[in-house]
């Protein structure tokens, strides 16, 4: 595990290109692709097995839809039930270009807003398709019984989200993710009952099986018995979510992890834009070292809440005693046309800046106010309660402060990862037969995701895109040789997995898995968080291999591998964080421009905004794994903008 060369001395390989998106007018590409994609005869579909890893919005909807089409689906989740995937925690809403408000929205505007919001680092064809499909998603979910908020006339209600000037976000109070996920879960449940989906809850994917260059299965561990097994298929779909938990503290679920995508990366799938991380501006600030995770307060709160800090440094008066003219509503001041609804990356950085100036509020000065006093005066407490009641309740539960009476305190936190496995227009990775959907791929959000677009992308991928494109792969590979456990490639992956877990159990050191996770997480937050510098990233890149070395010397995992062992699960996930963290830093180091959520202090405009450098960096960075601690190979996918011309984003 020693590096043969400096990790920062990466090599640049052949460019990578999407070969699947058809040419021609952008609004016809998806239709054309669907027409050109080969189909599998319905009678032949049941002969194909597809593995789906994960049961969130992308995985749940993909599993259900593939099974409806007649494929045999074998699906996995680490949770005790597919209903608990972390999509369930998404609060605010889902975007769709329905234009029910007649406020000037259209597919093209949603496409434009998303490309611009992503700071021109996403692929136009994919984003346009996403905007087209958005309208079908709402129809699909309503048909499933998703109880979206409605107006008195019985029609669907919408609200506004950051980075846009139309009202296109459909919602179910502050629990939109829950309701959409339950819709997908119920559709999946119907297919489980029909025998079309073989569901394996409490089972975690530990590696990918590649035979003759194609993805043919996975190695997974039954988390109850500890048994490690192999599962084979004609194609594998990863819907395992993002990797925000590298940072230790994030809004991700405690067990959300990067193992499935990282192991796929090690087996040949390129990892694109790993440094593109979304820091969400409105989370509840941490209270102490015991903090195990952070809680998001929905972006929808920025519709009616006003963000401010005291004008004077070190003003310790309680917020209600600070007079109006001594408050700085800094987002409204700096960005008058979007005000409190600027995109997330901009709102987060602005919060960091005022805190760095010494004007932050609350313990340690790591917070800003999100104030509802005006909203309560304007529309009454009852209306505020109706719109945001459950969020206010959650805030009070965690902080013991009543947000109807004192302003909320919020601070940015890691929330979402735009980077992920590189996929082409068909959502296929660089390993044939391996697909990635939802947050696990890199495809649609560029360098910054707009609010209420994650749910849209997860469901677009799972309900509509993948089920159309995977046909083409299966139709072109109709008779793959059966794989069995005695195939050398299978034996090798299985043995590697068993060895890794045995090693974790045998070190018997003096540090817990959590202590290492926390250490690497804090390092990442400091050097690869909201602001990044050349020297900071180099420091992190020097430190990570040392932590890794120490990990394998000092890790302590109690118990055995043949039982329910949560420490072993955790330790194995940390192994992968310790490698992924390194790639994230390298990616951040090599991209010497700022764009979206990736802010390099060396590259900013005179007024402190992210300065992109399109001449050098208008590409997606797809990294190829060459060995642990070995310098990876960079493959660039040039981004061509035919419809939305890159400009300096302006929300002023």
């Amino acid at each position: 595990m020693t590096a043969s060369a400096e990790y920062t001395d990466y090599t640049t390989g052949e460019p990578v290109a999407d070969t699947k998106a058809p040419k021609g007018p952008i609004n016809e590409r998806w239709d054309t692709r669907r027409f050109e994609a080969r189909l599998v005869n319905p009678a032949n579909r049941r002969k194909h097995t597809v593995i789906v890893v994960g049961t969130g919005l992308a995985g749940g909807s993909a599993g259900a839809t593939l099974a409806e089409q007649g494929y045999h689906v074998v699906q996995f989740c680490y949770q005790d039930s597919p209903r608990r995937a972390h999509s369930i925690a998404a609060q605010g809403g889902i975007n769709a270009a329905k234009n029910y408000r007649n406020d000037g929205d259209s597919v093209h505007r949603l496409f434009y807003d998303t490309v611009k919001g992503g700071d021109f680092r996403a692929r136009e064809s994919n984003v346009h398709r996403l905007a087209q499909i958005s309208v079908e998603i709402i129809d699909q979910c309503v048909a499933q019984g998703v109880p979206f908020a409605r107006e008195y006339g019985g029609l669907l209600d919408t609200r506004s989200f950051g980075g846009v000037q139309v009202s296109r976000t459909f919602y179910a109070r502050g629990q939109t993710g829950q309701q959409l996920l339950l819709g997908a879960y119920q559709a999946l449940s119907r297919q489980i009952a029909a025998g079309n989906v073989e569901m394996h809850p409490r089972t975690e994917m530990l590696d990918l099986i590649v035979v003759d260059g194609r993805a043919r299965g996975i190695v997974a561990r039954d988390l109850v018995t500890g048994k490690i097994d192999t599962y084979f298929a004609d194609a594998v779909v990863l819907a395992s979510g993002g990797y925000g938990n590298v940072f230790y503290l994030s809004t991700n679920a405690m067990n959300s992890n990067a193992t499935a995508i990282w192991r796929a990366h090690r087996r040949g799938a390129y990892f694109a834009n790993p440094c593109f991380t979304q820091i969400h501006p409105t989370c509840i600030p941490r209270t102490g070292d015991h903090q195990s995770k952070l809680t998001l307060m929905s972006e929808s709160l920025r519709n009616d809440g006003r963000i401010w800090v005291p004008k004077a440094k070190g003003d310790n008066r309680p917020p209600n005693e600070i007079p109006e003219d001594e408050r700085d509503y800094y987002l409204e001041r700096i960005y008058p046309s979007f005000g409190n609804l600027v995109p997330r990356d901009i709102a987060s950085r602005a919060a960091k800046n005022v805190c760095d100036e010494g004007r932050g509020v609350g313990p340690g000065g790591q917070g800003v106010y999100l104030d509802f006093a005006d909203a309560i005066r304007r529309m009454g407490r009852k209306k505020v309660e109706e719109k945001y009641g459950n969020l206010f309740e959650m805030y009070e539960r965690i902080t013991a402060e009543n947000p109807y009476e004192v302003p909320m305190r919020i601070y940015p936190a890691v929330h979402y990862t735009m980077g992920g496995l590189w996929v082409d227009y068909d959502l296929q990775t660089t390993v044939p037969g391996l697909f990635a959907v939802g947050e696990a791929n890199f495809s649609d959000h560029g360098a910054n995701r707009l609010g209420a677009s994650a749910l849209m992308q997860g469901l677009a991928d799972g309900y509509f895109v993948l089920p159309a494109t995977i046909n083409d792969y299966l139709a072109r590979n109709p008779h793959q040789d059966p794989v069995t456990t005695d195939h050398p490639a299978v034996r090798e992956v299985l043995a590697e997995t068993e060895d890794r877990l045995d090693l974790l159990l045998s070190v018997d050191g003096d540090r817990t898995p959590d202590s290492f996770h926390r250490e690497v997480g804090e390092l990442m937050w400091e050097f690869c968080g909201m602001a990044r510098t050349d020297s900071g990233l180099r420091k992190a890149l020097e430190r990570i291999p040392q932590i890794r070395e120490e990990f394998w010397r000092r890790i302590k995992v109690p118990g055995t591998g043949e039982e329910f062992n949560q420490s072993l699960e955790k330790a194995n996930r940390v192994v992968d964080y310790l490698e992924l963290a390194e790639l994230m830093c390298l990616d951040a180091l090599h991209r010497t421009e700022s764009c979206g959520g990736h802010f390099r202090e060396e590259s900013q405009t005179s007024d402190g905004e992210a300065a992109r450098r399109d001449d050098e960096f208008a590409y997606a960075a797809a990294w190829e794994f060459t060995g642990t601690g070995e310098a990876p190979t960079l493959h660039k996918e040039d981004l061509v903008f035919e419809y939305v011309h890159p400009t300096q984003r302006s929300y002023a």
């Binding site: 949770q79 048909a143 109880p147 409605r150 179910a172 449940s189 109690p558 039982e563």
Partner: protein, 249 residues
């Protein structure tokens, strides 16, 4: 804060379980209950002991994974999920009993972790609307009166944690089952499967070995999402209606 914890320890499904006593110190009132258990577990690991196994994931009160009986109450003294319970609800020097959900339909897997797959099978029996992908009509084709939509939402809030079962002296799953039936049956989209849904889900619920309902109301009191007790009455009405209808046909 310094606390004494009495925790149910059980090596696996077949092993005998028993309460074990632990002391924890330096607990901050701002910690969540699960962060307090994290603290205990970090100490146990370093001592070479087996940490306490418990289910948890989102820690935001929405995934429904966490499931502890604390001092005899499902999810503890506040009306919330265990993950949203904070140590400020306890006092320095307290002794706290921590047990798993107790119900014959939820067998213990290890320590505080139970098997709730029976809930999944109840949903599989009919807790859905048959709407294959791609077949949906335009969303505004069927307006839904706001009152119905709100009522559906109120029931759809169920997080499937199982506190209702754990709190019920009979170990009944009526509140869970009725929440899903009321969510779907009130909507026009759910109408075509209205009868089969209630009949099949109730039959599956019985098959899973949940107890009968004697309307003690403990379920609704424990429910962290406030699913109302009247939900059960509505389900019973739906069931009667469906039974009569199927008898007639």
């Amino acid at each position: 804060m310094k606390l004494t914890l009495r925790v149910w320890r059980q090596k696996n499904a077949d092993a005998e379980g028993a309460m074990s006593t632990y002391e924890v110190d330096g607990i901050s009132p701002d910690m969540s209950f699960l962060e307090m258990l994290d603290t205990l577990n970090e100490e146990l690991i370093l001592k070479g002991e087996d940490p306490v196994a418990f289910d948890h994931d989102c820690r935001e009160g929405i995934c429904g994974a966490c499931s502890l009986v604390i001092d005899g109450d499902a999810h503890g003294p506040e009306r919330t999920t265990t993950c949203q319970l904070h140590m400020r609800s306890f006092r320095d020097g307290d002794t706290i009993d921590i047990e798993p959900w107790r119900a014959s339909a939820f067998p213990v897997i290890k320590d505080l972790v139970v098997d709730r797959s029976a809930f999944d099978r109840i949903i599989q029996a009919g807790g859905y609307i048959t709407a294959p992908t791609g077949s949906a009509p335009e969303a505004h084709a069927t307006p839904v009166p706001k009152a119905d939509a709100d009522s559906a939402f109120e029931h759809a809030e169920c997080i499937g944690c199982g506190a209702c079962v754990a709190a019920c002296p009979n170990g009944a799953a009526m509140l869970f089952t009725s929440a899903k039936i009321n969510h779907l049956n009130v909507l026009p989209q759910g109408a075509p499967e209205r009868e089969s849904r209630v009949l099949n889900m109730v039959a599956q619920m019985d098959e899973e070995g949940f107890g009968g309902c004697t309307l003690t109301g403990e379920c609704a009191t424990a429910c962290p999402k406030g699913i109302p007790l009247v939900s059960i009455t509505s389900m019973n009405k739906e069931w009667l209606r469906a039974t009569r209808k199927s008898a007639r046909s």
